[in-house]
């Protein structure tokens, strides 16, 4: 829930945004820390295992204190990356990875019965890693402890992004916009549009997407299967873009602008363009901290394809602890590699593309992306069953 609850608006967003505007600049970061900590505890406690999840606030404090020690080029920065990945691996992937080695729950002696997922761990881990890496590369200044903790605990973006960069956020925290009227008008419009997207479109599509399970797939008419999958493709877009709208709109109430996450991705005419328009903050993070360190596009062709596959594999695993997410990542890695191969073989284009060419490219991209959602929303045996029914009857 969170963003579609009255508690979010009445207990957190409106009081915090008003206080942020009224307090003197020096007190603002600590106000963000206080509200962020209360937000994390309040909404963690509404989940199962939430008490332990809320206790994970210690992770924030630990990471923040450690990060104060980071000096450019210091090995401590690398330690920061390792500890962030360690926390994510333990909380999110323990049962998945031990399951790969020791089998299912019944045979796995290391199965963690009480496993829980701290609220937003996938997202704040990426912000921890970004900060550590950029300190290592001397791309960002340190700021005060309060400013760094405010960066991590800034509650509108803490749970599911957009993934911020410290060097972008810090100047806005220090000198937020003072145009109250525009900020509140635009922010409120964005929040209302986000809520409308969520309630009117995304939640309505749930009536169709709930059928994406083995039992319903077995009895459904074959012609309805692509409709259900398309409904999921629309649902996940409207659901997450609604979330991003509310998050970005919320930050506007503080006078702070954070990165955009979506830019009409379903209108893209190739898969590389799609990933520049879908979950933009994650795509940029993966490019900067995975793809480019691997060598990016400046290596031999085979190595570039391997880099693309690896980057999208990381994206898949980051999205969830399951083999279906691995396949989803590899699916997109393969599409990107094929697109790159095709673009290289075809060479540079002369003149604008024809309308028919654009329509064909759009249709192909749209179909491939939506077929890929099968691996995202269903476990692997169900997805396999879905494709068997879809293509073989």
């Amino acid at each position: 829930m969170i963003f579609n609850t009255l508690a979010y608006f009445l207990l957190f967003l409106i009081p915090a945004a008003l206080l942020f505007r009224l307090l003197p600049p020096g007190a603002r970061p600590w106000m963000c820390v206080l509200f962020g900590a209360l937000f994390f505890v309040y909404f963690s406690l509404t989940e199962s295992g939430g008490a332990m999840g809320a206790a994970c606030l210690a992770i924030f404090a630990w990471e923040a204190l450690c990060s104060r020690l980071y000096r450019p080029g210091s090995m401590l920065c690398l330690l920061g990356v390792v500890q962030s990945v360690f926390f994510l691996a333990v909380f999110k992937y323990w049962n998945f990875f031990t399951g790969l080695v020791f089998g299912p729950r019944e045979t796995n002696p290391f199965y963690w019965e009480g496993a829980f997922l701290p609220l937003g761990i996938s997202f704040f881990t990426f912000e921890f890693i970004h900060y550590a890496v950029d300190r290592y590369r001397d791309k960002t200044r340190t700021g005060s402890l309060g400013q760094y903790m405010a960066f991590i605990l800034f509650f509108p973006t803490m749970v599911a992004g957009p993934i911020k960069r410290y060097q972008d956020f810090l100047p806005k925290l220090e000198a937020p916009s003072t145009d109250w009227r525009t900020d509140w008008e635009r922010g409120t419009t964005r929040i209302l549009c986000g809520l409308a997207k969520k309630f009117v479109i995304a939640d309505t599509l749930t009536a169709m997407t709930v059928h994406l399970n083995q039992a319903d797939l077995a009895v459904a008419h074959r012609a309805i299967l692509p409709v259900w999958l398309l409904a999921y493709g629309m649902q996940i877009y409207f659901d997450f873009s609604a979330y991003s709208d509310i998050a970005i709109g919320s930050t506007r109430l503080f006078g702070i602008k954070v990165p955009e996450n979506f830019d009409w991705p379903y209108l893209c005419t190739n898969i590389a363009e799609f990933w520049r328009h879908w979950h933009i903050s994650l795509s940029k993070w993966l490019t900067d901290y995975v793809y480019i360190p691997l060598g990016g596009s400046r290596r031999a062709p085979v190595r570039v394809y391997a880099n693309l596959m690896t980057t999208m594999l990381v994206s898949g695993i980051w999205h969830g602890a399951g083999t279906n997410f691995v396949v989803w990542g590899l699916w997109h890695g393969a599409l990107l590699a094929i697109h790159r191969l095709w673009s290289g073989w075809r060479g540079p284009r002369e003149g604008p593309p024809s309308l028919a060419g654009q329509a064909l490219s759009w249709a192909l991209t749209f179909v491939m992306v939506n077929l890929g959602w099968a691996f995202f929303c269903m476990d692997l045996p169900t997805a396999r069953f879905f494709f068997r029914r879809l293509f073989l009857g």
């Binding site: 599911a160 309630f199 939640d203 506007r252």
Partner: protein
């Protein structure tokens, strides 16, 4: 091919993504903005109650 970018700009302004309306159009008047917000709130209330979690909350 002029219409789709103009349409996109208009929709982005109505969605709160951009601060200024497209060139040649005026911003929403306070009355129009109030009506627009009222319409959105009505739609939200009409469809609320079937709510599910945001998908990315569990990530």
């Amino acid at each position: 091919m002029k219409t789709p970018p103009r349409l996109k700009e208009r929709l982005e302004y109505l969605g709160g993504v951009t601060d200024a309306p497209p060139d040649g159009t005026s911003p929403l008047s306070p009355l129009a903005l109030g009506l627009y917000w009222g319409l959105l709130i009505c739609a939200i209330l009409a469809f609320s109650g079937q709510a599910s979690k945001f998908i990315y909350i569990d990530f």
